[in-house]
């Protein structure tokens, strides 16, 4: 490329006749340098490209609010920055196969997160890692791709797995056989189908997979759907959105997040009667389950004079998200280290700790920093408040 540079002709030396030997040497060196830099470019391109999708993965915030109603129409014209045509086509294929098989939207999110991790949604027809092929990098040596009995399909297992529709259908078949797959942690569910050495990797893609489903289907991940054709609805406690979230309890939002009156209020207070069941807002690992009170006693009602959030539970979800549930009436139902499903009961509403009456103090945090639970939950299709 540098041989195209032409300095000003006026500066050209008078002895214009080239000495061919040196010239040839220079040309050879130049070509070699060009080749090396071209190789470097090619070698690094996938890395740079990966970083685009990775930054999308890390910053994916679901901008869609409300509980979508168009969830079963696939938008063929959608464009997503950073994704090439083949990747978008494969994403639409995965969703389409899920719809044909009557898999609810939660399954599409799980399938997309898995395929993003395994292949970045590129259909690898030739194995590059062991004998893994296709969108889901399924391995014929592990039994993937075998023809069902009596089938007329004469392709080899590897050929079948390199067919995006076949590979997606096989993924869903195994997914649907797992108990409670719609509410369990995405990493656990994807792991049970895929069997990776680092299961948590799948979960990193959950927000981006959710965004993809919402963009391609106009919001299917943002609500619950019982059967195809039903309108997509906001979840009641225990019903899980495609994004994997539900409401901890249905109740009016009393004291809000960092209001002028209470600038230090790091969550919202949901006004719900004593003994109401508190549900995990999403699946995760319990990282705290204890009594937090300046009196040391959470088994009696607290008061504004007591410090602390009483009997409480904290759950670590994927990608740096945590939720916290305070003032339970008795010791929580879950213990530290336990893997909880979305909607699983954590305890019951009470008034322990710094509390003047029964309510659920609910916090949502991103990398440890408290964010407004009202907008946080609305963006996940599980808006807080009273319904029904």
């Amino acid at each position: 490329m540098s041989l195209d540079l032409r300095p000003d002709a006026a500066d050209a030396p008078p002895d214009g006749e080239a000495r061919p030997g040196r010239l040839r040497k220079l040309v050879v060196v130049g070509i070699a340098l060009l080749a090396v830099s071209a190789l470097l470019c090619l070698g690094f391109t996938p890395m740079v490209f990966n970083s685009v999708v990775q930054s999308m993965r890390d910053s994916a915030e679901n901008a869609q609010e409300g509980c979508g109603s168009l969830g079963f129409s696939v938008d063929d014209d959608v464009k997503i920055d950073g994704l090439a045509a083949d990747q978008l086509q494969n994403a639409a294929t995965i969703i389409g196969v899920g719809q044909q098989m009557k898999v609810p939207p939660r399954g599409w999110v799980i399938a997309l997160a898995t395929a993003l991790q395994e292949s970045l949604l590129h259909n690898y027809t030739v194995a590059t890692d062991h004998d893994s092929v296709g969108l889901f990098q399924q391995r014929p040596s592990s039994g993937w791709g075998n023809a069902s009995a009596g089938a007329t399909d004469t392709r080899t297992p590897a050929q079948r797995l390199a067919d995006p529709k076949y590979a997606s259908a096989k993924f869903y078949e195994k997914l649907l056989r797992m108990p409670n797959w719609t509410s369990r942690r995405l990493a656990e569910v994807a792991q049970a189908v895929q069997i990776s050495a680092f299961p948590e990797r799948y979960a990193r893609w959950e927000p981006f997979a959710t965004l993809l489903v919402n963009r391609i289907t106009k919001g299917a991940a943002n609500g619950v759907v019982a059967t195809e054709g039903d309108p997509i609805r906001c979840p009641a406690p225990g019903q899980i959105t495609g994004a994997g979230w539900t409401v901890p309890a249905l109740g009016q939002v009393g004291s809000g997040f960092r209001t002028p009156e209470r600038p230090g209020h790091a969550g919202v207070d949901l006004i719900v009667p004593r003994y109401t069941v508190i549900h995990a807002a999403s699946a995760g690992i319990v990282v705290t389950s204890k009594c937090n009170a300046s009196t040391g006693n959470c088994d009696v009602d607290g008061s504004p004079a007591v410090k602390g959030c009483g009997w409480y539970v904290e759950i670590a979800h994927t990608t740096g998200l945590t939720t916290r549930y305070c003032h339970m009436v008795t010791r929580p139902l879950v213990t530290v280290g336990q893997s909880v499903a979305a909607g699983q009961p954590l305890g019951r509403v009470g008034s322990s700790g710094n509390s003047s009456g029964p309510h659920l103090h609910f916090e949502t945090r991103v990398n440890g920093d408290a964010v407004n639970p009202v907008s946080f939950m609305a963006a996940r299709g599980a808006p807080l408040g009273t319904r029904q």
């Binding site: 540098s2 041989l3 540079l5 032409r6 300095p7 050209a12 030396p13 214009g16 006749e17 080239a18 000495r19 061919p20 040196r22 010239l23 340098l33 830099s37 470097l40 690094f44 890395m47 740079v48 990966n50 990775q54 890692d129 062991h130 049970a192 069997i195 990776s196 050495a197 680092f198 299961p199 948590e200 979960a203 209470r262 230090g264 209020h265 969550g267 990282v287 705290t288 389950s289 937090n292 009170a293 300046s294 410090k307 602390g308 959030c309 409480y312 904290e314 670590a316 945590t322 916290r324 305070c326 003032h327 213990t335 530290v336 280290g337 893997s339 509390s355 103090h361 440890g368 408290a370």
Partner: protein
Amino acid sequence: MARLPAGVYVRRPGYRILSALVLAVIVAGVVLLARLFGSASPDGSAGAGPAPAPSRTVSSSEGDDSVYAGDSPSAEAASSAALGVGENFVRAWLQPTDGRSQEQWHAGLVRYAQPDLATQLRDVDPTTNPATAVTGQPTATVLSETSAEVVVPTDAGPATALCVLTADGWRVATIDLGE
């Protein structure tokens, strides 16, 4: 504009230096871009001295009726205990380079893992784990008195273990690899 033979430019010393500089800038640019955007991190590789492992604590006492942290002296203790079990787990979980069987590999990590995680890893082929060695000091971020996230640098990127304090002691609940 009259075009002179290519040799005229190529033979000029100033041009040669210029072209060398241009190439050097291009190569440096490519490498820099890859460093900036790529997943390989330049630091944290082998050869780092025995620097003390830094640890961070995510603030957990905030707001009026939120968690009261008046009596929690155990953040440091949590951090060092979690670091130990996190690093032990990751070392047991690396791809075996000494011919251990799949069963031996799994048996080696079970005692550091929560039962759920041990089950998840039961059928894993450890030769598919690209990490074969620990390449630096582990670090911990304390999430609460009973949990911390431990990051152990490996030759295939950082391994991230969520460590939790259970009735049986500190255990690893989840494992991730890469940025």
